[in-house]
Structure formats: C-alpha cells, structure tokens
C-alpha cells in the first residue's frame, strides 16, 4: 500500500530547469511591474524608486565612488562580524549550558527556571539596557545577537540529549568509557544534528535581531544602521538597496552556509530532527 501510493506522484515533480525558471519569472514580474509603475508615474518614483535605480545606487555604493567609498561592503562586513561574534559566543556558551541542563541535576535545577524566566523577554527590549551598559559600541549589538541565538541552541542541545536512548550510554559503559569519553564519543556526536538545527534557527533569529539592534543602537555602520540613517536623509534608494541586501544576505547565510552544514551531517546520517 505504501509503495502503491508512492508511485502516484502528487503532482509531477518540477523539472530542474523549472526550478530555476520560477524564481526568475516571479521576481522578474514583481520587479518589472514595479519598474513600469515607477517610470510611468503610476506610483511615486521618489517613494518607490524603480528597481533599476535601486540596483544602480547599490552598484555605486559598492565601488570607490560610493559615499563613503565601498560603503555597502563596509556595512555588510561589519554586520557579518557582529553576527559571527555573537553567534560564536552563543554556540560555545549555549552548548555548555545545554549540556549542563541535559546531563546534570544541578544544571537542570539552576538554569532551567532562570532561562524560562528570561526567554519571554523580547530580545530587542535588551537594547536600551545594553546601550546604558556598553554605550554605542559593537558590544551592544553583539550581545543582542548572542541573546537572540542562544535560546534556540540551548533548547535544541537539551532536546538532543533527551532524544538519546539510555541504551547508547549502556553501550559506552559496557566498553568501559569514562565520563569524559562518553561525552566525547557519544553525547557530542549524538547531539550534533540538534545543535545544527538550533544553530540554523538561532542564526535566523540573530540576523533579524542584529538588523533591528543596529537601527536602535544607532551604532556606526552595519546594514541596519545604514537603512535607518538613510531614512533621516530620505534616501529611498539606499533604504531599498539596504533592505534587499539584508534579505539576500540572510538567505545566503541560511541556505548557503547552514544548508551546506546540514547536508554534510543531518542529511548524510539520515537523522530526522523533529521541529
């Protein structure tokens, strides 16, 4: 029966070229209509500058004639640096806290309540408090990124440990593994797929939180700061260009970097992480 229904494809599978055609056509139609509407004056070309003008402005901003020169590249680099620093911190601390909660009684007793008390606080609500502590500084935005990413990582590490059956530990114990060896050879590889899932979700939240934090913390540079700053000068082209860059960068990070990581581990091992 399972095989029988399996042979009935729901719809015919999209052919590889179709997979490429669809996004090109659907985005092409969207941007094309926008372009025409802006050029013919159907919508205000000041408020909604035609996509061609937005791309042109982005291109200039990425070159030596930008204001400042290579401005958008600088913004991208700085945003990525903050993301990397915050997520790296979250990865290390989150894994440690997750292991403590999952493996030790005291860790569960101490951290679980504190984390459940902190989790409902909207990440961005920390920004003004952090601004007081650190001032307008990279540390403010990095900390926001850290907070945004760490909950998902902790949660998934704990889930990963809970998902492991007791028999896995018994196998290790019967081989005479020490506590450290069990951690090294059994627990860490066992939770890796969950850790990657947590990382994926965490990076997604972190990227969004970072952009918002850069707007709020009015730091210098960074994509979030850039679009907020451009609003003060009513520089619509830069705002749209910035938004587009944020979205494409976010996609690249999620699909490209994390996607590749998933392919090499979760998919290869055939592990199904329920989320």
């Amino acid at each position: 029966m399972t095989l029988d229904t399996a042979e009935i494809p729901r719809r015919r599978l999209p052919l590889p070229p179709m997979k490429l055609i669809r996004p090109v056509v659907s985005l092409g139609v969207l941007f094309g209509l926008w372009e025409i509407a802006a050029r013919t004056g159907a919508i205000s070309a000041f408020l909604f500058p035609p996509p061609s003008a937005i791309f042109a402005a982005l291109w200039i901003s990425a070159g030596p004639n930008g204001d400042p020169p290579y401005g958008i590249l600088l913004d991208i680099a700085l945003s990525l640096y903050r993301l990397l620093a915050g997520v790296g911190l979250a990865l290390v601390l989150g894994t440690i806290i997750g292991l403590a909660i999952g493996l030790t009684g005291w860790g569960r007793a101490v951290f679980k309540p504190i984390i459940s008390a902190l989790m409902p606080i909207p990440t961005l609500a920390w920004t003004p408090v952090l601004l007081l502590v650190f001032g307008i500084d990279n540390r403010t935005t990095i900390t926001v990124v850290f907070i945004a990413a760490s909950f998902e990582i902790i949660y998934n590490v704990v889930t990963g440990i809970e998902m492991m059956t007791r028999k896995v530990y018994w196998v290790a114990a019967s081989m005479g593994a020490s506590r450290l060896q069990t951690l090294r050879y059994v627990v860490l590889p066992g939770i890796l797929p969950y850790l990657i899932t947590g990382l994926k979700l965490g990076v997604g939240y972190a990227w969004r939180a970072l952009i918002a934090a850069e707007m709020l913390a009015a730091s210098s540079h960074g994509l979030g700061f850039m679009i907020y700053d451009a609003q003060e000068y009513m520089d619509m082209k830069s705002i749209y260009g910035g938004i587009l860059t944020i979205s494409v960068m976010g996609l690249l990070i999620e699909r490209g970097v994390i996607g590749a990581l998933e392919k090499r581990t979760i998919e290869k091992w055939g592990v199904n992480v329920e989320r």
């Binding site: 729901r10 409902p120 606080i121 707007m215 907020y228």
Partner: protein, 273 residues
C-alpha cells in the same frame, strides 16, 4: 496519592522552580548594595519593584504604566488581527495549490530573512511616526508565522481524509468545512500563537523607533534619555510578563480544548494517523 500530598508535591515543585530565580535576584541585590555593581546602570531589584509600585499609581502618583500597557496591547492586537485576516486565506490558497505556492515562494523566501523592523525606515518616510507605522511593522512580523502554519496545516491533511468525504458525496464546501478547517486547526492555533508572539516581540522595537507618546517600548526608550534605569527594567519585565500571559494562558487554554483532546495519545507528534 492523597490530595494533601498532591498539593505538597506541587508546592515543592513551584518552590524548586522559583528558588534559582530568587537566588539570582538576591545575588543581584547584594551586588548593588555592596557597590559591586553600579546602581546607576543596574538598579537593585528592590529599587525596580519600588519604581513599579510608583508607576502603577499605588503611591498616589499618576498611574502611567497602565496607559502604556493598553496602548501597546491595542497595537499588537490590531496587527495580529490583520495578520490573521491576511495570513489565513493566503495560507489556505498556497496550501491547496502547489502551483501557486511554487510561484509565490521566491518572493516569500526573500521576505522571510528580513526583520519586520527593517521596513520601519520606509514606513517612517511614508506615514511618519505613529500608530499606523507601528501597526504595519507588527503586522509584517506576525503575518509570516500565521501564513506558514496555515499552509503546513492544510498540506499535512493529505488526500485520504478529503477522499473519505468526497466518497460520501461531500461537496467542496463539505471538504473545507469538515476536513480542511478542523484538520488544520491545531496548526492554525500554533500559527496564531506564534503570530501573536511575533507581533508582541516586534512591537517593542517598532515603538522605540516610531512611537510618539505611548507604549511600553516608548516608555523604555524615553526613560533611557533620562537615565531612568529602573523604569526601563519595569518596562522589560512588563513586556515579558504580558507576553507570557498571552502565550500560556490564552493560547495554552485554546490548545488544551482542541489539540490535546483530539490527539490524546499523539499530541507530541502533531497527531496524524
């Protein structure tokens, strides 16, 4: 177990949950009192509590806190309602028609990595600061979880339940009313919960950027310019508490009367048979 023990057991569990939190607060309080932490940046919990009492109007001052909370709740709820009105029909459409979903998904995946707050600069130019800008930003934050959950719920239904109703001579309306809506209801409720949570979480940032006179986000950001740190912390705690109330009390109850009853055994797996 006798009832007396049950109460005792539950009380013990609550205490064990609260103990680490109280411990943390105590360490914090002591750190401030002994001068380890700067009171100007990190006020003691007791100071924050005193400030909360003032803001609530319990000491005879003007009860400003309620006004901010009401303004925030109103915006978040309006945005959420809009998100449901747009996200649910669109979710049903994209869930039912794979073709439509394939064409729209490139645009959606381009929108998804954007924080809703990123639209604020454009909205500020278009509409200026105020309720409209804030509500639209929150709507953008809430609509995607609603849309995606609806889509998944409709998809997960599968063909066979539809076939059962069809084989009884049921019409398209019967399929919608008796299969698609009830079977996607758990996913819808999850979507509503996520949508409301996102609306609420987006609200703070939106209010910080675009509120003129009221709202918890505004209160926090305004307090920052007076270095009134206690008020900032009161705001943060309010945001968390209200968010938790909405999520657990409101949607928790909703989930309880639907999902948990239907899927008594397989509540965790989402309950497809």
């Amino acid at each position: 177990m006798p009832i007396g023990f049950q109460i005792l057991d539950r009380a013990l569990r609550v205490i064990r949950f609260l103990l680490p939190i109280l411990g943390l607060l105590l360490v914090w309080e002591l750190a401030v009192r002994t001068g380890l932490a700067q009171a100007g940046i990190l006020p003691a919990p007791s100071t924050i509590l005193a400030r909360a009492v003032e803001l609530l109007g319990l000491t005879g001052e003007r009860a400003v806190l309620f006004g901010h909370i009401l303004a925030s709740l109103r915006r978040a709820l309006v945005a959420f309602a809009l998100a449901v009105a747009v996200g649910v029909p669109l979710g049903f459409l994209l869930g039912l028609s794979e073709e439509a979903q394939l064409w729209v998904s490139p645009i959606l995946s381009l929108m998804l990595p954007l924080p809703a707050v990123a639209w604020t600069p454009i909205l500020l130019v278009l509409f200026g600061p105020g309720d409209l800008t804030i509500v639209i930003v929150c709507f953008l934050g809430a609509v995607f979880p609603v849309l995606y959950s609806t889509m998944q719920g409709v998809r997960a239904c599968g063909r066979q339940p539809v076939w059962v109703v069809r084989s009884m001579g049921g019409s398209g309306l019967d399929v919608l009313r008796r299969v698609l809506i009830p079977s996607s209801l758990p996913a819808l409720i999850t979507g509503f919960k996520l949508g409301m949570a996102h609306s609420w979480r987006t609200l703070v940032a939106a209010e910080m950027l675009a509120a003129l006179t009221s709202g918890l986000g505004y209160m926090i950001f305004a307090a920052r310019s007076y270095m009134d740190v206690s008020t900032m912390f009161v705001g943060v705690v309010c945001l968390a508490a209200i968010g938790m109330l909405i999520e657990h009390v409101l949607f928790g109850t909703l989930e309880h009367v639907t999902i948990h009853r239907w899927y008594a055994r397989d509540a965790q797996t989402g309950g497809r048979q």
